[in-house]
Symmetry: C2
Subunit: 447 residues, 2 copies
């Protein structure tokens, strides 16, 4: 019986570090859920003569991508008309997302997650951080999503957005949901948890106090921070402190914290985030879509902040997000020499953060002993790939290419462009059947 | 013998008009290079019981996309290090593009075009407008590209960028190249021509005078206009007129003109373009990449200008360009109610302009008698598609999906994600073999 699979031949890019090792005519050998060797295709075929071959057709062989901030729950909003103009971020939340999340039931939570996971697989993301909310079916929602994650075959870090926006009881139930999931399933090799908080402006001091007391020491938070000026404004009005001061005051700003967005932050706050070891997550397409402004990536990096990358539910295409981040820097600075240095560390930061949370130091690296998260991008690069120009290829060429194979922890989830674990036609049909009732419930809800 | 192909079942979106007709569980019947019927899948299968079926797997069935501004010649720049910082648009042209174009030989012109065409097919573009330049192999370059276009199976509108930047002789040769191609091949059903001009600031009055005298009345121009402030500045310095005044003065500003970019235009100029019937082509990703600013789409449309969409060689993904245009409006205006209205006509304008140039009134429309340019996007939409929400689906969902089938003038060019006319692995291998010498020639050239 073949227990080894060789993925090749192709151009192996070992990691997303600034100048990663590159193996041309290379391959990756996998056994069970681990990478057992990296080398030339010829060498690996000689070493493992009985291995099964997964033909990479000369494509780019990359570590599986990591998405640090996704919202599976938003998948069924495609084509949904909120029925009202939404003039600012507050109106977008109230008119669209806070109505949609209340309208979700267990069936649509499941379908939304499945649709998103299918897209993750399609675009080569093997580890995804979801920030979930579904007030009408709160208890057990993370377990429900975890089931779909297992079925799809990815690794995921789940969290439920605690919020007092619908009352304190719901905030407590949200805290319970996070703690229950963390205690039940948050330590499996492919599932981890973070403690989800919506955003400072919707979480009361009472709730933060409870969170502070009850969270296990090793459980970091996952929170929207300064996505819009609204966060600072309402936090100050309601709780008399800035969003960052509040997190800090309750002992939640530490090296395990994931802070999504950071658009509206001053230099002092960014420095404090840098000191804490928390990670800021840039979501360029979503920020544009919500017209909230742009994270000042250059400043954040120059102040020593670790910055990663997410999609915030706008899509599941991490390389599209990388390209958007790059073009956003260029357009934002008006400086055509900018961009490369600024975005060069984003994907690497994502891998490092996932490695930390999964206690898998080699995650995000194609090397012996690493988890077998491997993707193949098609077609082959038409010019030389060198350690120095990997980023150029990713931004200008590869971000426009398609993923041929997605392998997560040794399991092939996409093979020659086709899903192996999910029937996307069937999922879409189920979603199509379920979405009219969801949209109807949405329309009946007040803002 | 089956002469009819039925593409379905799927959701047929008949055109890119603001509220297009939508047929759910629909299909398109094709015979030779024409669409012969649109209807429900059930009806078309009953009408054409012996038809060959191209399974759309429930995906979105759309008219083939049109790209109004592409540069095939730039494909081999992926990963190329210009070896110098480029601080503004002038330095980008001199340091990168004007060196790359001089380094091209016939082999790399052909390979570049083939790579770009493969990407066009991959992303569902069936009609592409190329703006070519290759000074070292000028004569016959358009014919060479036309050969590849025929082989790939697309429709294309070709033009050569006339410019005095390397001397007047070369400008004359460029004019000759355009006229020769137009006279030889520019009226075939799948190939048309425009008269290419680089940009006002590199084309002398002498050349414009020649162009004006020699161009056939039905041959429109394809030119970069106001891509950066450099165009106005140098046109004024060198020729004492604004770029638009110069085009107008030489009788080139008319209803067949394609004006790429238009970033640096005042309201008066935009109004004159609107009056002329010329089309402005928005290239959002390229403009961000070059840090030249953003076309004021809202203003251009409010002044009655026809605005279309291109990729300017940055990619071949038109739906990616549409999404970038949309997010660019949102980010640029800071107004989350903006965007939908602004970009709603772009793809339709592209189809209309291509229809005009190919003398095919139904091009870009899935209706009886139209050219059979049809694409299928995968996976199926997970929520209802209605005439009112097609754009929402395109921007938030479909722009992130992949193309399953691309059919151009009745010929299947991409079938179940795989190319049928081009061997992309082989093309990449040839490009990989040829690009080191190209990059070496590039490095040896002065800026």
């Amino acid at each position: 019986m073949n227990s080894v699979t060789v993925v090749g031949p192709g151009t192996v890019v070992v990691s997303f570090e600034q100048e990663p090792m590159v193996v041309t005519q290379g391959a990756v050998a996998i056994e069970k859920d681990r990478i057992i060797a990296i080398g030339t295709f010829e060498d690996l075929c000689a070493t493992y003569p009985r291995a099964e071959l997964l033909d990479a057709h000369g494509g780019l062989i990359l570590p599986g991508l990591v998405n640090l901030h996704h919202h599976f729950y938003s998948a069924l909003a495609r084509g949904l008309d909120p029925g009202m103009p939404m003039h600012d971020f507050g109106e977008i939340l109230k008119g669209l997302w806070w109505r949609l999340d209340r309208a979700l039931d267990t069936q649509t939570v499941r379908l939304s997650a499945t649709l998103s996971l299918a897209d993750c697989i399609r675009w080569g993301c093997t580890t995804v951080f979801d920030h979930h909310v579904s007030p009408s079916c709160l208890g057990g929602s993370l377990n429900l999503i975890a089931d779909v994650v297992r079925e799809a075959g990815l690794s995921a870090v789940l969290s439920y957005e605690i919020s007092d926006r619908n009352g304190h009881e719901e905030a407590q139930a949200g805290l319970e949901e996070n703690l229950q999931f963390a205690s039940d399933h948050g330590k499996s090799p492919r599932l981890r948890s973070l403690l989800g908080l919506h955003a400072s402006f919707t979480v009361s001091d009472t709730t933060l106090e409870q969170v502070s007391k009850q969270r296990p020491a090793d459980l970091g938070i996952h929170v929207h921070l300064a996505e819009d000026q609204l966060d600072a404004k309402l936090s100050q009005e309601r709780y008399g402190q800035t969003p960052l001061d509040r997190l800090d005051h309750f002992g939640l700003l530490d090296g395990r914290a994931l802070l999504a967005h950071g658009v509206d932050l001053g230099r002092h706050d960014v420095s404090r985030i840098a000191e804490s070891g928390a990670i800021l997550i840039h979501n360029p397409e979503s920020n544009s879509n919500n017209a909230v402004g742009r994270l000042d990536l250059e400043a954040a990096l120059s102040l020593g902040c670790t910055v990663g990358l997410g999609t915030d539910g706008m899509s599941s295409r991490m390389l599209g997000s990388l390209r958007a981040a790059f073009l956003g820097v260029r357009a934002g600075t008006g400086d055509p020499t900018s961009g490369f240095d600024t975005v060069s560390g984003l994907l690497h930061a994502n891998s490092r953060r996932a490695a930390q949370i999964f206690d898998e130091p080699l995650l995000g690296r194609l090397s012996e002993g690493a988890p077998a998260d491997v993707i193949v991008i098609d077609p082959p690069a038409p010019t030389q790939v060198t350690p120095a120009n990997v980023l150029g290829h990713l931004l200008y060429g590869v971000s426009e290419n398609v993923v041929r194979h997605t392998i997560a922890r040794g399991r092939i989830l996409l093979k020659d462009f086709r899903h192996t674990t999910l029937d996307v036609g069937e999922i879409a049909a189920q979603a199509l059947a379920a979405s009219p009732a969801l949209w109807e419930r949405f329309r009946e809800l007040d803002t």
